[in-house]
């Protein structure tokens, strides 16, 4: 076989391996979170500490009033927290929550933007969307709309929302650059994105990277701060700034993972960025 053909073939094979791996990761993530969605209220094995969802949320920085205002079933205690994003919302704004889960942040956002605003929640897990919708129905929310979709292929029109929020989800997406390009696409010019997520301060061991549990627990899919910021920048975002950093709770990760070492390598960040006007 000529060399160029062999090189081409090997590149095709590598690409296929990547695609298979991405699909496998997606399935693991969806199965993991669909299990979580079926539990009454939980924290088991996801990106959060031990304790009740309310306790976790308090620690993250949500106020008591916020927690009381959203349906309690919508708070699964899974996020690394995005209270600043909620605090920045103004009445009448259109908001997209990437990875909306059972809807906690969406309900807080819905209250903040009021009836003249609107909140769209996208999540790829059937059970999560069902649960979110049920919570919206119970809470009588009329300005929140949940739909099942993938963050790398958002079912949302171009230049549509004022704000994109996301709470501890993009780390689960195999193609982060593409997810940020989608966030950029759906934002109106001048719109802003405020995400919180798990990032690495240094590389984690290969054994952790390969663990599905660690992926679902927001670890194996996490990238370094530099890579994360670079993915945001390459999507076209400007005014990128790190609003805050907090420790990543490692309590509920599988026992096989060395936690002392990990807590030095991982943290949760809150980042804001803007689509140029």
């Amino acid at each position: 076989m000529p060399l160029f053909l062999a090189m081409y073939a090997s590149r095709v094979v590598l690409k296929m391996v990547d695609m298979l791996r991405e699909r496998e990761i997606k399935k693991a993530v969806r199965d993991g979170y669909s299990r979580i969605a079926k539990q009454p209220s939980c924290c088991a094995g996801s990106c959060c500490g031990t304790g009740s969802a309310a306790e976790i949320s308090r620690r993250i920085g949500y106020t008591e009033e916020e927690m009381l205002s959203a349906p309690p079933e919508s708070n699964l205690g899974l996020g690394c927290g995005n209270p600043l994003a909620i605090a920045s919302l103004r009445r009448g704004e259109y908001v997209l929550d990437m990875g909306s889960g059972a809807g906690f942040d969406c309900f807080l956002a819905a209250r903040a933007v009021g009836p003249e605003g609107m909140v769209i929640g996208v999540d790829m897990t059937t059970e999560m969307v069902e649960r979110a919708r049920e919570n919206a129905r119970k809470g009588g929310y009329r300005n929140v709309d949940f739909r099942q979709g993938e963050l790398e292929n958002l079912p949302v029109a171009d230049n549509y929302v004022d704000v994109v929020i996301s709470n501890c989800v993009i780390n689960l997406v195999p193609d982060k650059r593409r997810a940020f390009r989608e966030a950029f696409r759906v934002l109106k010019p001048g719109g802003r994105m405020i995400v919180s997520d798990v990032v690495l301060k240094r590389e984690i061991p290969e054994s952790v990277r390969r663990s599905k549990e660690a992926y679902i627990g927001c670890l194996a899919g996490a990238v370094t701060v530099e890579e994360y910021i670079d993915a945001i920048r390459s999507a076209g975002f400007k005014e990128i700034s790190i609003l805050g950093e907090s420790q990543f709770p490692t309590e509920c990760l599988p026992a096989s993972i060395d936690k002392a070492d990990l807590s030095r390598s991982v943290c949760s960040l809150r980042i804001s960025a803007r689509k140029p006007a």
Partner: protein, 57 residues
Amino acid sequence: MEILVCPVCRGDLELEVFEENEREILTGRLTCRSCGEVYPIEEGIPNMLPPELRERR
């Protein structure tokens, strides 16, 4: 409706309603006007996952 687009090609979608109540559409389907892909609406939830990721239920 105008906010939903086809996740594959970003085309406009055409809505068909099979079942609805006074508040929302319960069952139906969305068809992309550009690429023809069909997205089901079941129990009020539009399933906008690209076809290869959709769960068979």
